[in-house]
Symmetry: C2
Subunit: 229 residues, 2 copies
Amino acid sequence: MAKLTSLKSEKRLLDRQAADGIRTHILEGILPAGGRLLETQLSEELEVSRGTVRAALAQLAREGLVQQVAFTRWQVSETSPRDAWELYTLRAALEGLAARLAAENGVAADHKRLKSTVAELTRAVKDKRFGDVTDIDFRLHQEIVEIAKHRRLAEQHGYIMQQVRFHMVHSGFFPKDYAALVDEHAALIGAVIERQPDLAEALAKSHNEAEVKLLAAHTEENPRAETAS
Amino acid sequence: MAKLTSLKSEKRLLDRQAADGIRTHILEGILPAGGRLLETQLSEELEVSRGTVRAALAQLAREGLVQQVAFTRWQVSETSPRDAWELYTLRAALEGLAARLAAENGVAADHKRLKSTVAELTRAVKDKRFGDVTDIDFRLHQEIVEIAKHRRLAEQHGYIMQQVRFHMVHSGFFPKDYAALVDEHAALIGAVIERQPDLAEALAKSHNEAEVKLLAAHTEENPRAETAS
DNA sequence: TGATGGTTGATCGTCAGCAATCGCGAGGGG
DNA sequence: CCCCTCGCGATTGCTGACGATCAACCATCA
């Protein structure tokens, strides 16, 4: 008998699927930041019951993409400069730990995968396929986290990166200095492969600090009327 | 006319209240690790509907105290040495950031509160009120996080600390060297008050690393039949 | 103008019920 | 005796409908 992949391995609970659908809409920017979400409308569009929609919205609220105003409304989260600062500082702390662990634990196969992704990133920058650059950038950081073999870290990092992506889409902030971006990633991956935990952690942190400074400059230039927390 | 206090200040959504009730039971060790939770039974005991119980359990699952086995059962999470390692490494990263921010941002009132809590901790150790020591220890770390003024950090730290408490209750691990505990906390708070971010971050991390080593020794001495992840 | 009260529409919580799935033991075959 | 299969009971997953509660809007009236 040939090896079969389980059919039900990807069978997911309905509320998760509903959350996936809404999440995709939010991350693609189809739903505007601060936009209202109606339970009944969502339940009709997704063809699930209102209870299932409520469970999905609660999940998304935990992920930080949606906010619940008790007894009143559900809405897509807003983006403020304060949020961006929180995301990048927290991301620096988490990725610092991830880089350290990856440098300590990574095996040859991991190193090979990282090198391959860095090469992809370099090619995309050289070819000026800037749309792909962001995706590969995200994937590279995710691979480091996976090598760290830390379930809770991976989960938290995933939520943070989701919010980073959300913030990028809605604030129009994207990296600009692609040459520096490639250099920083190459240095970080080099430290991981050469098993230098301290250096890897430091590079991961400084990489994020560089981005938070760029973001601060961006929000200076593009001030928005956002309510302070 | 006497001033009235808002009635709704403590009015909470019912599913949150249900989650609070179950959470307390779990954190006090009344429900054993791995113990099964029946939706029907909980709804009868808490006198809420099954739907509300499901919402509460989903919330607790997101907090890491409960696990959902699809179509089969809800159960209290298990504690493994791997979990403990994850909790302490992640906690070190988060508290490192918190200590850094607290050292940068703390004002006089914050410093006063920290000193007061350290004094409480010192007194409790001197009086050998070891039950109180743990609570004050937790509160001290929470105060540092609050001073950092970082919403997402505070949220994540809260969830982690909840799981740490859960793990302590169910694994029987408690600090032993109370003198060193007081010294480490005093040094950390000193660095925060003297506005030395680098030192504060380093002390917060080493404090947690010390604990993870104690824990490793503890699990060596008290091996349990736990399933590896 | 500004306070009052009513209307509207949304969320919150409950309930009864059915479908989907799993665990486990009885039963049968080797 | 062991192993496999089947079926039953228990539990979870999901639905639709309902009443209660709450916020926002609007008309009324002093």
